[in-house]
């Protein structure tokens, strides 16, 4: 897939909470959105911030071809993401996309029992993945973890695609505790896709190995270029250190040394 540098215009900035925004953007020149695979990401230029320098890698949440809108779910993490949370309608945001490899889709004719596990802002790429799985005839089920009910993001969007199971640390919604303790996990799965904080993904990877499920996780190591040039975002794999930006961000857990 050819990578492009594209100016996008913010069409809508929906504040989901003081910490999260869902940005909907369209190419400023009116062109169609480039081809994108679920799990790929964009490198967003942060303009108008005093202390940021590098672009920020952000997962692609949804590619809505009907409205020509790209959705990005952004969590306030520092000065760079603060600029994005504050980006008003009409603002131009420069991006490089599509980057990374994305999740692998089942072969035609396969119908694996599939669970998508997301934690916090890590639910972002699972939306587009869920949509494409459903389009491929596979009904995805979701397991979403969050600190509390207020941190659950876009649950209604996921409910449109399949059953949604919820875990919260404080028990304010769904089952209390971490996702790996949720009763849904014990039902047996052929395939698990997971994106969230590293400790959560490592725990999910352990469970996936125990139950014999094929498992892919999406990593978010700190990046500079996002293009495989700087070699900063490396992850230790069975093949040695590899760039998360080009060899990932999605890895089958068999490739990792977890």
């Amino acid at each position: 897939m050819k990578k492009e540098i594209v100016d996008f215009r913010v069409i809508e900035n929906c504040a989901l909470s003081p910490l999260y925004s869902l940005l909907k953007l369209t190419p400023a020149d009116g062109h169609e959105l480039p081809e994108v695979k679920p799990g790929q990401f964009v490198q967003v230029e942060i303009d108008g911030s005093k202390h940021t320098f590098l672009r920020r890698p952000i997962s692609i949440c949804r590619v809505d071809r009907q409205t020509n809108l790209l959705w990005l779910l952004v969590r306030l993490a520092g000065e760079g993401t603060a600029v994005l949370l504050a980006a008003g309608e009409g603002r131009i945001i420069n991006m490089i996309l599509p980057l990374g490899n994305g999740f692998s889709m089942p072969e035609a004719g396969e119908n694996p029992k599939t669970l998508l596990i997301g934690g916090g802002v890590g639910v972002a790429p699972l939306l587009q993945l869920g949509i494409e799985l459903k389009n491929a005839g596979i009904t995805p089920e979701f397991l979403i973890g969050a600190r509390s009910e207020a941190d659950l993001l876009m649950i209604e969007e996921f409910r449109k695609l399949g059953d949604v199971n919820i875990s919260t640390d404080d028990g304010s919604a769904g089952e209390k505790g971490v996702v790996t303790l949720h009763s849904a996990l014990s039902r047996g799965w052929d395939r698990i896709y997971c994106c969230g904080p590293a400790p959560m993904m490592k725990a999910v990877a352990r469970v996936a190995k125990e139950i014999g499920a094929d498992c892919e996780v999406s990593l978010e190591n700190m990046m500079a270029c996002g293009l495989g040039a700087c070699l900063c975002c490396v992850e230790k794999t069975v093949k040695g250190n590899v760039c998360v930006c080009t060899e990932g961000p999605v890895f089958n857990i068999k490739e990792l040394t977890w």
Binding site: K2, K3, E4, I5, E45, H51, T52, F53, L54, R55, I96, N221, M222, M223, A224, C225, G226, L227, G228, A229, C230, L231, C232, C233, V234, E235, K236, G240, N241
Partner: protein, 303 residues
């Protein structure tokens, strides 16, 4: 028509814009964004005799107007480069320059010999200034004797243009430049990254796995311009300038200070197309200032 051709030793460049080692991969990573054939040259990733895994993650942290890195020369080794990378890039209508690094003098020599025997690479950049490896690297670049020793050995092993990349982490960079000039270097390039450090105060730990790392980006540019200016006056071989060049204006600062060519590094991470914009800007600047040959601008502030 403005002449942008410059010469570094026997290496002829169609324009003075190169890419800095470690920031441009092998060039092909950027082929979606620019026509690589427009570059004066591109300096490929630091190459060592044996493959290297580099340092542990985390290797990077953003800092004001720049970043610290501690990659530690991760690369697949010179044989992999010659067998798998070189065939992919040799058709590009630009000059590939291989950045050569090693823990021992013999390693530098072995890499140079293989490049000389098995490729048509016209120039190498000898890295005696990497701050992120325990052995070799900057250890050679911070003393005149060490720098001279590597240069002398490499000069014998490689018949083409030898550019020696200098460390700014020294008391007087001009002494090192003179030492490598005396041993037959065709040019010097400067500056490699400035050694730095950043601490996560919430975790009360350094950000980098190696604690210290190399600072790059516009934060280092004034230091780099000063060192290029001093060095260009101290030696008679060409100086290649780098350090925080983000745009054409920045590139011209280095040229006016005395650089014959420049390298674009960290800026590639922010705008992968910045190199061609810099070439266009230099061209436009020359027209605007009625300069018919870029060589007239080299060191022009001294005149």
């Amino acid at each position: 028509m403005v002449n942008l051709n410059v010469k570094i030793g026997s290496l002829e460049l169609k324009n003075p814009v190169l890419t800095a080692s470690g920031t441009f991969g092998y060039g092909t990573e950027f082929s979606d964004f620019i026509d690589l054939g427009r570059l004066g040259g591109y300096i490929v990733k630091g190459t060592t005799l044996e493959p290297r895994q580099g340092n542990d993650y985390p290797r990077m942290v953003e800092t004001p107007s720049g970043m610290l890195n501690a990659v530690g020369l991760q690369n697949k080794g010179v044989d992999y480069f010659i067998d798998h990378i070189y065939p992919e890039i040799r058709h590009i209508d630009s000059k590939p320059i291989v950045n050569v690094s090693g823990a021992k003098v013999e390693d530098y020599v072995a890499v140079c010999e293989r490049l000389a025997d098995r490729t048509d690479i016209e120039a190498i950049e000898v890295n005696i200034s990497c701050p992120n490896v325990k052995q070799g690297g900057m250890a050679f670049g911070t003393t005149c004797a060490g720098a001279a020793q590597v240069t002398k050995a490499v000069r014998k092993a490689f018949p083409g243009t030898v550019i020696v990349k200098l460390s700014p982490n020294v008391t007087d960079i001009t002494e090192i430049a003179r030492a490598v000039e005396a041993e037959g270097a065709d040019a010097v390039s400067l500056i490699n990254t400035l050694m730095g450090m950043a601490i996560d105060v919430e975790r009360q730990r350094p950000y980098l796995s190696t604690i210290t790392g190399g600072l790059s980006g516009p934060a280092v540019r004034p230091v780099a311009v000063r060192m290029v200016w001093q060095t260009a006056k101290a030696v008679s071989i060409p100086v290649v300038g780098l350090g925080g060049i983000m745009n054409g204006r920045d590139a011209l600062e280095f040229i006016l200070a005395g650089a014959t060519a420049i390298e674009v590094g960290t800026a590639n991470f922010i705008d992968p197309a910045c190199t061609v914009k810099i070439i266009d800007y230099i061209n436009e600047y020359c027209r605007r200032h009625s300069v018919s040959d870029i060589n007239e601008l080299i060191g022009a502030i001294n005149r």
